[in-house]
Symmetry: C2
Subunit: 456 residues, 2 copies
């Protein structure tokens, strides 16, 4: 089946003038791309980049599918997880399921559960959720790779109490490290079912583990097609040839637009509501993987077309020349609607008659790319033939691999996130966690705010 | 009632070192703030800034409330609008209504309609929506200030056909310019009810017109409290004294962090799920108002705490020093949940026992601000006493006024958006609109993409 394509013409000086890259720049980066390819696929061969092997890990996929089948009779699935333990599954759910899945009557959902991602440790959201789900008919997927994520545990501890030990044994599934961490230990003690997150796969690269596959399968996503699309994309990108490698091309163009043209804001703009959460997933992937040094770290910004033409476009068109836009177009929509031919005669309305919604959306995407190009502002366009599981698997893998290539080009480790630890320590200090007294004391010693600088 | 407060201590060098502002810088900007105040409130007195008078426009509020009452018996309200015609109402709906309003049984919604914002011209979303609402029991608010927004008309034309003229007369409300534009003309011809958008109020400043008030009132928002909060904030900010003017202080600190410290990415990060859409609303307001020149235009980025600690925080902590973060904390949550005291003994879990969800969220916000400060990265904190209509009115007005002040400080017109026209012309050209042949021809003459730069 067809894979997504990547068109970078509008990022080149031939289209956008001096704000774009010269083809020279791409020729010059080619040897670095070849080295990056050798490093990435060498690491894979050495077993050190297991996310690339997930698409062919049949055993893991089958385990997720089998468990999903057992859960499919529940009224709802509550996915407890945050960040990398939520964004991937949410991207799959929103891109591949009915846009109002949770509002459909159960028979129109094929008997499948409603799916919720409470995500944040926000008591207003979670108490609201408990008002609309019947907890006796809810399955719970608790997902934390480390096993110790505070937000997820807050929710899980509450549900564990409300369900009681016996119901929890039936209804809770823990998805976590196969050996280590608090969730694994508690799951053992309390007899919860579990699925493993392979130790070498980081949270933001884990969408094709049980972390993403279990909720997706419960919601009715075709996991096999998803994995086959991803596998095809891995194969496609296993080449040192920049011109044939969409992940390397995406990474190279964005990297060069940043370091050679000062375009360190990367706007990721799908023209499809269903890809909104995929953009959120990419924002985490790109930001957390590459934001590692004062001199390195593009800022990804999520936008959705055509909606954000009415929000960010003014800034993209006329503001500072510090941005590059990645459009994501879908060639064939999942559902189509026609605008009636019979319209009022007003010129602002009449021309719309007889077009399709998708025709309008697609014209807006091409028009926006053209307007940016004419204004000397570069963009790239990924085109997805259709929004199905195979295409989504390919797209997600394309973006993960682009992140690996970008890590090589920027010279940073895209798989760690050391910067988030300080905040976690302070949180533990504030909540009185034993052992975190030094963090608490450090906070207490910070200068008190001067009341002059508080406007009341 | 208490208004939101603004604490800028963590934006100053006393807290964050050289990445922050010296108090000198704020003293130096004070005269410019006084001039800005004179310009803004002078324009208001001359009738040229009518958004500032919306909070006391009783007649407009009463009209919106009366019409909302008539619509309150419908099963659902479809709000057709995009950008400024959708973001404000969505912010009010999601911040002030039940987080799962549309999933509540009708009696738990107080008999009120479900509320939907289809927003985009995405046929998959819209056809999905038509599967879950009963169109015979749906009210339709069609909102476009100019009267000619393509996305909104695509949806409206479809519903107009499906409803038929007679039902449309009962079910459609048009919210648009009082005299001009296609929607006004069609509403007259077809006998639809209407509410006006005051001509001098731009889309992104229109949340307190019928654009925001009608959908909010239908959903059950206390419109009077909303307006009284906004009115109090206008009064609060009607002073040339920087130290007493939260809008001027917010604008000044963000402006100075941009122009003096190169922090041109402004991360807006509420610690409350309910404020996610308010952040989207602010992104439009800030981006479209200020993004006007190659040398002027901060990029606003939406984040939500604690969720995006697991996404953007790594970049904020260790990436380039080009960002400032605006935290938005809520002191007293609308609903509260306690984490059970009885927890497993694992150290990663035990310390959470007995805390509240809000206690955890609030500790995370303070910890993150402290970690950023320790890393030399500035932030500001807006604190909302509680998330109610009065507070939201005050918050939205604070942010609108901050935008007016920022326009003055940056030296741009914050009320126009000339940059979005080129894309609209190309869209009309692509769709064959009479009169737009030159745009079509211009597009046709653009260089065809070189197939070498398309990776398939």
């Amino acid at each position: 089946m067809a894979l997504p394509t990547l068109d970078v013409n509008n990022a080149l000086s031939s289209s956008v003038g001096q704000g774009g890259l010269s083809p020279d720049a791409l020729e010059k980066v080619a040897p670095r791309v070849a080295s990056a390819h050798a490093a990435i696929f060498g690491a894979r061969a050495a077993g050190k980049l297991p996310y690339l092997d997930l698409p062919t890990d049949r055993a893991a996929a089958d385990a997720a599918k089998a468990l999903a089948k057992e859960l499919s009779g529940y009224g709802s699935l509550l996915v407890l997880g945050i960040g990398g333990s939520s964004l991937g599954a949410k991207a799959l759910f929103t891109s591949l399921c009915h846009p109002f899945h949770n509002l459909l009557p159960v028979e129109r959902r094929g008997g499948r559960p409603q799916v919720f991602f409470p995500d944040n440790s926000d008591g207003s959201t979670f108490s609201g959720l408990l008002e609309v789900v019947d907890l006796q008919r809810a399955a719970v997927a608790a997902i934390t790779k480390s096993g110790g994520t505070a937000e997820t545990w807050a929710q899980l501890l509450l549900l564990r109490e409300r369900l009681g030990a016996e119901a929890a044994r039936r209804q809770v599934v823990a998805i976590t490290d196969p050996e280590r961490g608090a969730l694994r230990a508690v799951a053992r003690e309390e007899g919860w079912r579990t699925l493993p997150v392979p130790p070498g796969v980081g949270g933001r690269f884990s969408v094709l583990t049980a972390v993403g596959l279990l909720p997706a399968a419960v919601a009715g996503v075709d996991v096999d097609a998803l994995l086959s699309g991803a596998a095809e994309m891995v194969a496609r990108c296993d080449t040192p040839d920049l011109a044939k490698n969409p992940a390397a091309m995406l990474a190279s163009v964005l990297h060069l637009l940043d370091v050679e043209r000062g375009r360190r804001i990367h706007v990721f703009m799908p023209y499809a509501d269903a890809l909104r959460e995929t953009a959120d997933w990419f924002v985490q992937l790109w930001a957390e993987s590459l934001g590692k040094q004062e001199s390195v770290g593009p800022t990804p910004v999520r936008a959705v077309g055509a909606t954000d033409q009415h929000s960010l476009l003014q800034l993209l068109m006329e503001g500072p020349q510090d941005k590059a836009t990645v459009f994501l177009a879908v060639e064939k929509p999942r559902a189509e609607l026609s605008i009636p031919r019979d319209t009022p005669a007003q010129p602002d309305v009449k021309y719309l008659g007889g077009h399709t919604f998708h025709g309008l959306l697609s014209a807006e995407q091409r028009a926006t790319a053209a307007a940016l190009a004419k204004g000397g502002r570069p963009s790239l366009t990924i085109t997805l033939p259709t929004l199905d599981a195979h295409g989504m698997g390919a797209l997600l893998m394309l973006l993960e691999l682009a992140t690996s290539f970008a890590g090589q080009l920027y010279g940073v480790d895209p798989y760690d996130q050391p910067g988030v630890e300080a905040g976690k320590r302070y949180t533990c200090g504030l909540l009185g966690r034993p052992g975190y007294e030094p963090s608490r004391d450090e906070l207490a010693k910070m200068p008190a705010g001067d009341p002059r600088w508080v406007v009341r």
